[in-house]
């Protein structure tokens, strides 16, 4: 059933470095199957124990600001309009109009056809979040299901990049992955990465969405993470937010462990983006702790860690207000975008 013949895969340089120049479906499979297994009980236990860290006072203040800086403020609805996107961008620029010290988010994340609206609304603020700007991220490749031909996926990607998207959030072909066609998944990521190439030779950042809720097992998540990195992903991302469960702490911990192992092996740093289902500051702080204690705090920067979220921002703003005033306000004291 699986094409384990000698058909060569796309020559992604990371994979060639690690697996060898005769990159085939078979050599890729052998490599992925050689990865260490994951014990689900132990992984969940470790995640739960990281979740018990008690982050107070100055640490909490820093954590809340850092969460805001790492948010990809997202709207991915069929009902999205240019007006809605403008309002999202306004929120990204000025999360809390009452408190000028509030940092900006890292990026806004929209569907491909909304990229021009986002770029326009951002104006001069459009730029690299590590340099104080706000990026535009676009979901592409027939998001969220990914059920389209490769040509359509590539056109979707190239279109968003041409419109000014700085980051592409692609989905992997989960069907192919679950059927064991790792080579197909790999080749598609390589092709999408190539479609991220701009005329000047630079690339839009590629976030590879694994949709861990559909991969179902932690072993699959580890394999898919590793595969996505080998194929050239700059980021590995948990979920589309359209499938339940979306991001969970154990899944994110596991992906961080993969990224840590990749760094140990190659010295290269890959980003991680949990997305979907993270709504409370308290939960987001658990993710920061998990990042800091797994890969180190140097990962808590926009080009290495993001939260894909929409309602999280308002909860963080409420917590920020509580920290500065000592009182809880309420949902009427943060803006609905």
């Amino acid at each position: 059933m699986n094409s384990s013949g000698p058909s060569a895969l796309a020559p992604a340089h990371r994979a060639i470095e690690l697996i060898g120049s005769d990159l085939t479906e078979k050599s890729l499979r052998l490599h992925l199957e050689g990865l260490s297994g994951v014990d689900a009980v132990g992984l969940e236990q470790r995640a739960a124990s990281l979740g018990t860290r008690s982050i107070k006072t100055t640490s909490k203040a820093w954590a809340l600001d850092t969460i805001i800086r790492l948010i990809d403020l997202t709207t991915l609805e069929g009902a999205d309009t240019p007006g809605k996107v403008r309002s999202l961008v306004a929120k990204a620029l000025t999360p809390d109009p009452q408190d000028a010290s509030t940092p900006r988010v890292a990026a806004v994340c929209v569907y491909g056809d909304m990229v021009p609206s986002a770029v326009e609304a951002l104006g001069s603020a459009h730029g690299d979040p590590d340099a104080g700007g706000i990026s535009v991220a676009a979901v592409a490749t027939a998001f969220p299901s990914g059920r389209a031909s490769l040509a359509v996926k590539l056109a979707d990607t190239a279109d968003a990049v041409a419109a000014g998207a700085d980051e592409i959030d692609m989905v992997i072909d989960r069907g192919a992955f679950l059927a064991g066609n790792y080579g197909l998944v790999f080749d598609q990521i390589v092709a999408v990465k190539e479609a991220c190439r701009r005329d000047d030779g630079s690339y839009a950042h590629l976030k590879v969405i694994l949709e861990t809720g559909e991969l179902n097992t932690y072993d699959n998540v580890r394999k898919a993470s590793w595969l996505s990195i080998l194929a050239g992903g700059d980021f590995i991302k948990t979920s589309t937010g359209k499938v339940s469960p979306a991001a969970t702490l154990p899944v994110t911990l596991l992906m961080l462990e993969v990224v840590r192992d990749w760094h140990r092996l190659t010295g290269e740093r890959i980003g991680v983006k949990p997305a979907g289902g993270i709504r409370a500051s308290k939960d987001a702080i658990k993710y920061l702790v998990t990042v800091a204690e797994t890969v180190g705090e140097e990962w808590l920067v926009p080009h290495l860690f993001r939260f894909g979220a929409s309602s999280l921002l308002n909860d963080v703003l409420l917590q920020r207000q509580k920290l500065s005033t000592g009182r809880y306000s309420g949902p009427d004291y943060v803006t609905v975008d």
Binding site: S36, D39, R53, I55, T57
Partner: protein, 480 residues
Amino acid sequence: MSFLDYAPAPESTSILHLKKSYGLFIDGQFVKGHGSPFLTISPSTEERIAEIANANAKDVDTAVAAARRAYDRTWSKLSGADRGKYLFRIARLVQERARELAVAESLDNGKPIKESRDVDVPLVAAWFFYYAGWADKLDYAGLGPNPRALGVAAQVIPWNFPLLMLAWKIAPALAAGNTVVLKPAETTPLTALLFAEILQQADLPAGVVNIITGAGDTGEALVNHPDVNKVAFTGSTAVGRAIAKSVAGTGKKVTLELGGKAANIVFDDAPIDQAVEGIVNGIFFNQGHVCCAGSRLLVQESIHDEVIDRLKTRMSTLRLGDPLDKNTDIGAINSKEQLERIRELSDIGEAEGAERWSAPCEIPAKGFWFAPTIFTNVSTSSRIAREEIFGPVLSVLTFRTPAEAIAKANNTPYGLSAGIWSDKGSKILAVADQLRAGVIWANTFNRFDPASPFGGYKESGYGREGGRHGLAAYLEGGSW
């Protein structure tokens, strides 16, 4: 500022309402002891917590007499269902006062609050709930119909899990219908005395549980008292051996839960991140003051370097310090004596040629502390590979085949616990089958449940605690 220098998050001690001094709890009352009182201190600050009464032989006599009276007149006359009601009540009170008990335990013992809060105290409640359920079902304990209680149980417990060990001892004893005289360890009497207050709150009939404090001589007088029917001891193998000798021929039933030098076996097909976590949990949980600690790491030679590398990285994130801080992973060593023993054995390990590595953590100026430490290049004949250190010190050995792993794991006078790490279920079962240890954990370590019997082979003691087996240790068969 560094995020990882988490701001202090101390658990408040304001919930504690400690007395300046505590008496002995005999016949439902706190009474004066006739020995000279001693102090219990906090091992993390060396500050005094309270003055504790010292029971001499006369006090032991009074306590045993009270337990005998309570057995004859009250406890043995109650139905199992009524005994169960008291146990349920105690379990609920432990839950209600959980935070207070956790703070007291961390203060007196030095263990991190996250452990006393998330492990010790919840397990204490679980133990009472579990055995409360057994109290009216003794016919199903496996001893035939109408099993009988033994009478008065003398129980001596250690300092590593003060309240939990108390629960392991008292819950099955009471469920089975015995009365109890219990002696907590000299350095950690505090939670046992708070537990005595809980017994008063629960209206447990006077004399059913008596708690007497003191040192080794008090314990000796207790286990040698002619009117006790059962001796249950958890502690060192040396003391356990002495107890076994002294009760030989007396007709007292004995349960001994002694030392260990558990092998934690990591195969090359192990889930590596979870195995590293399990190694850390196995030896650094409770500062390694755990009789079933995975103190001998047996790692397959092919992955030795990688495992050690990952282990060191992980150990570098362990946070040593104030036991009451909610983010502390490694607390204080319980006593100066224990710290000296750990230091002495570690120095011997180094002198014998093993390579020592300690996690880089700041050691507080006051109190008793020992940084998490591993020894590599340890030979099987080295003392740190043979003797129980009872501290945060791991000895790493290697093996090449499952047969070698089994042989090395079993090559110890102890046999309390063992761990196996492999993604291959059939291998786990095959290896577990040949390990001579009372508890074997697969892809986990240091997990406890009241329904699961716990106990050792060889010099790790005899008898089982927990589960139906733990209940049977406090019963004798009725007539069929």
